[in-house]
Every structure is written in C-alpha cells, then in structure tokens.
Point group: C2
Chain length 352, copies 2
C-alpha cells in the first residue's frame, strides 16, 4: 500500500492551481457557472484541473451548506423478500434516473425502529423519503414534520402524508375468486374449506380480508366471516398456525389464501414436515408474487402488486410542490400458476 494517502483535492486546491477564486471554481464545478457568466475558457481550465486531480465534491460539505444532500431514502420493513427487494430495485433505478443517490434501509416493522431510523436519515439531511409498509406511517410523519423532507407512504397508507397503495380489496377479490374457480364444478370448494392465513391488523390485510369475504358471500353458501387466521408477517407464526390447523382438523383446507409471501414461507416450513401427497388437491392463492412460488407442485395463484406503478406515482407526488394528503390506489395483477414474469432485473442490461 504505497499509495499516496494524500487528501482529496478541494476547490481551494483548484483555486490556487487555476488562479481563480474558490467561488469561481465552485460555480464551474457544480453547474451554476452559466448563471454566473464565467468565461468558457476559465471553466474549461478548471474542469481540466479537476479532472487531472481527480476532484470530487465533498457532498457532506455541500449538503451542510445547502441543507440538502441529494440523498433519497426508501424505508422498508425487510429486505429479504421478493416484494420488497423488487421495490428496492425499482426505487434505485428511479432515483438514479433523477441524478440522486438512493439509499435503502429496513426497520423490521418495529414502530420505534422506524422512527429512530428516519430520525437518523433526517440527521443526514436526506431530501426525500419513501416509507414502505410502515407499521406506523403517521409516527414517521411526526418525526419528519418541520424538517422539510418530502414524504410519501407506499404499500400501507398514512393520514398525514400522501400515500400510494395497491387496491387490496380488489386484489383480495381477484385472488379469492381465482381460488374458488380453480376447483371443478363437480367438486366445488365449500366456504368452510377456504381459509385465509396471515397478515395482521393493518390496512392491507383488512382490505384483502374484505375482498375475501365479499367473494365468499357472492359465490358461496355458508358463513363468509369465518375462516380467517391472522398470524402477523412472519414465517414462524404462520407455520405454527398451519400446524395447529392440521393438528385440529387432520388436514389442510383445500383452498388457501395466504396473505403474503412471507406467510407463504410458513407454509413451506409446514410442507417440509409433511409429504407432498398432502398437498395433492390443494389450491393456494398468495398475495404477493414470487417466481419460484409460482411453480410449486400444487396450483399457486399469485397477486403481483404494481411496484413500478407505485414507485412512479410516489415520485410524481414528490415532485408536486404541495401534494394533497390522499391515498392513491394502484391496481395489482393476478398471476396464474406456473408463470414467470419479468421483473426489475430485466431492465438491467446483460453483461457477457
């Protein structure tokens, strides 16, 4: 490591080298030089010097001075899940496209952690923030209030900032109906054989459950309000719920509405302890799309939320000066079994 540990060049270094003042150098290097009517020749000289000395602006200094950082953050519940990871992927592309710097962090669905994390982000003077699937969006708002940050909720709505969410009611309907219709007319699914597992008491779950019930009422006899087992968003608790059901009934319901791919992983854990035959005549609907999930040995119908649509809408709202505090709804898409959809990775050019 015989590298010159020499410090990074600053505008002062360039100012000395070029014989101009720091402010001139600054203007040239941050693009405001046209406005300052700086001579093309000085500009060129300075740019050359900057190149030669590998100048890069100190963004902390710039941010401190201008109280904006160029940082745009996405706050996720978790990374490790195809819904949110595709959201991160899409988000990054958008932010890069606007010439800003994307940063993605997760807060584990813990309201306190959400607030603390956002507080940190604010301390770094991030300019804009998209909060996805927050447990307490309004709590996050409070933290942001007065900081001048642009805030949009996504996936789960808040009441203090504009929100963009999926049409979970419609999605719930679509998915439930697809499950029901997947059974043959000669052996139709009964209402008490169609269960919803997963989710919790949040807006998305409530809406999906509402859709689930509505379809049950429209298409089936029997009590539409039963057969709902919230488990929270965790594989473990979902697994437990499936185990308990199985313990009690000696089998699984034939129709299964699983309220997120995370909960679906609970079903995988259950499957690991039981032979494939047990799932021979089961139909699963999963709210959220996972390409591998779509090809399991039983029919899996999925809902893909329009992540790109939601992110796009969120940035539209960001760029409004004073967006209305309302909730925008984006339509999700039904995905039949054995379907491999294109994803955000397909937008990336292949290497080699």
């Amino acid at each position: 490591m015989e590298n010159r540990q020499k410090k990074k060049a600053t505008i002062y270094d360039l100012s000395v080298l070029s014989g101009s003042s720091p402010s001139t150098v600054s203007a040239v290097l941050n693009g405001t030089w046209q406005k300052r009517r700086i001579k093309e020749s000085t500009a060129k000289l300075i740019r050359g010097l900057a190149e030669e000395h590998q100048y890069t602006a100190n963004l902390q200094a710039r941010g401190l001075r201008s109280s904006r950082s160029g940082l745009v953050a996405l706050l996720l519940p978790v990374h490790d899940n195809r819904y949110f990871s595709s959201m991160a992927q899409t988000f990054e592309a958008h932010v890069r496209g606007r010439g800003q710097c994307p940063i993605v962090v997760s807060a584990c669905r813990d309201p306190e952690e959400e607030r603390q994390t956002v507080e940190q982000l604010i301390a770094y003077s991030i300019d804009e923030l998209i909060v996805a699937g927050a447990t307490d969006p309004d709590g996050v708002y409070e933290v942001c209030a007065g900081s001048g940050i642009k805030l949009v909720n996504i996936d789960l709505p808040g009441t203090k900032a504009p929100s963009v969410i999926s049409d979970n009611y419609q999605g719930g309907r679509l998915l439930t109906e697809a499950i029901v219709r997947h059974f043959n007319a000669d052996d139709p699914l009964q209402a008490d054989d169609l269960y919803l597992f997963g989710g919790r008491d949040d807006h998305a779950s409530r809406e999906r459950i509402r859709g689930f019930r509505a379809i049950k009422r429209e298409l089936m006899d029997g009590d539409a309000d039963r057969c709902i087992v919230p488990t929270g968003y965790s594989p473990r608790t979902a697994q437990t719920a499936f185990e308990q059901f199985y313990e009690r009934e000696g089998r699984l319901p034939r129709g299964l509405f699983v309220n997120s791919s995370i909960n679906f992983e609970g079903l995988l854990r259950f499957m690991a302890h039981h032979p494939n035959e047990m799932f021979a005549d089961i139909v699963v609907g999963c709210y959220d799309y996972d390409p591998f999930g779509s090809f399991l040995p039983f029919p899996v119908i999925m809902i893909r939320q329009d992540v790109d649509g939601m992110i796009t809408k969120a940035f539209d709202l960001m760029s409004e000066s004073r967006p209305a505090i309302r909730t925008h709804v984006v339509q999700p898409e039904l995905v039949p079994p054995r379907t491999a959809l294109q994803g955000p990775l397909d937008a990336i050019k292949d290497i080699e």
Copy 2:
C-alpha cells in the same frame, strides 16, 4: 399543516438556553463529556434541554468536521434475489449492532456503475464499505485508494483488499455429487447427461465449474470437461440457453447444475412454456438457496452460502487496523430438497 416549520435546534441554541458554551454542549451530546470532565449537573441540564427541544445532531456537520460519517455501505450487484437480499438483511443487523448507519446500494454488475457509485459513497464520507459480488473489485479499490475507507470484498474476491468468499470449489463438488447420487444405481446419471448452466467468467463460476468437473472425473466415465454452458447472470440469457438446448436435443439433461438462483429463474421461464411432465425425472442442483425453489415439483438440491459467516468475517477484518490482503474462505452448506431453512428474518422479533 400548522406545524412549526421552525428550524432544528443546534448546539448553539442549547448553549444559549443552558448558559454553557457550544463545546460543552457538543461534548455532552456526543458522549465525550466524561473525558472532558463536565459536571454531572451541567450534563444533565443539557441533556434535558436537548430532549425538550428534540435536538438531534446534524450528522452532515459532524461528518464534515470529523471526516467520518458513521455510514457503512454495502454495494450489491442486485437487490432482487434471495441471496443478496438476505445479505442486505444480515448486513443491516450487523451495522446497527455497531451503532452505525447501514446503507445498501446496487450497481447492476456494471464495472463503471460500480466505480461511480462508490465514488459517490466516498463523497458522502462513508467510513466502511463491503463490496459484494463486484464485477471489478480491484477497480473499486482504486477508487477507494487514498480515501481512508475500510474496504472488504465479499462473494467475489479482489487482489487489492481483503476478501471473504464461499468455498465455491467445495460447494461445486458437494452440489454435483448430490445431484449424481440422487439418481438410482439401476439407472445412474451419465456424464453427458449432467450439465452446468449459468454463471460467467468470474472467480465463483470458475471454482464451481472446477468442482463440477472434479466430481465428474471421480464419479463418472466420459469427458468431464464438456457440458458447461455459461450464460451470464440473467434470467433471460439462461432461458435462452435452455431453449436452445431443448431445441437441439429434444429434451433437457437429467442432471442440471444451475449456477445461481438468478439463472434458475431462467429455468422457470423455460418451464412456463413446457408441461410439468417434461421435468418428471430431472434433478436440479442450484448454487444458492431460495426457500420456494426448494419445493419445486422435481428434486432441487441447493447450496446455501453462509451469509452471516461471511458478513461477520468481513466486519472482523474491518476492525483490524491493517488486515492482510488475502482471501478468506467460508464453507457453504448443502440443502436437500424440500427444506425450509431459517433466515435472517427469523432473527427479527415477531410483531403481533
């Protein structure tokens, strides 16, 4: 929005309110007050005021002054994939545990984008950087050189900074052997019926291929060097490769070593156009674990890389003052079909 848009409190505000000097306030609020022998009572007073006025430090200012930011970055090839998203999840937990602020960004496996992104991160004065699966780790090093940033490569090794990678040779052997042994002795897999698809000319692929060939030589007759189809890391190109093979041979190989879950998605796309029966007697080995992938209708054997082990090792190296420039190897794990492993999400406490 009748919120006071009043500016955030600074140490000067608190200095006035408390009657102490800014430096005292600063010391109290950043933990160096013990060292400065500040009276417990003044400290308490100041902390009270800070609380009351919701003071939070301006981290840009602190970073500018101290030329460290508290930011620790992870550079990923892509987000949208269970290997890297679990890496992000694990990384965040580690960084949070050290009281720093994690930020995760992706660079699409593009060497130029990798360098530019890192340059930006440096401009924000990040303190430490983990570069995962970089196409050009040494290029990234060059950008970091002289910036004082701690750098560790992970997943794919470099020659200029310490690296932590999986034992891809051993993993390749494990996986290949498991595929071969999955076939019955009365109808064993032939060498020309065992193909490796995916990957490209990087260290990981080369090592896996070396393991693949070694096992072929040890366990099978025939040419061990054939049957290798690199496709790059993209679903699309992998799909094309499968299609072309099928076009040519009228079937798929019975033994399939797929060089990453991303390439496995290419196989999914192929599957979407062909009936399940075509895959009836196929055995797939996938280098990388995906819980849903493990339960597909044919036997899928997977390799799970020890993400937590690698991240832990990486941070160990970071904390060494001058770590040796060498490559540390971590053992991956073979995952039999139909296995639902615990992941980083399981470390998160369940809500509700």
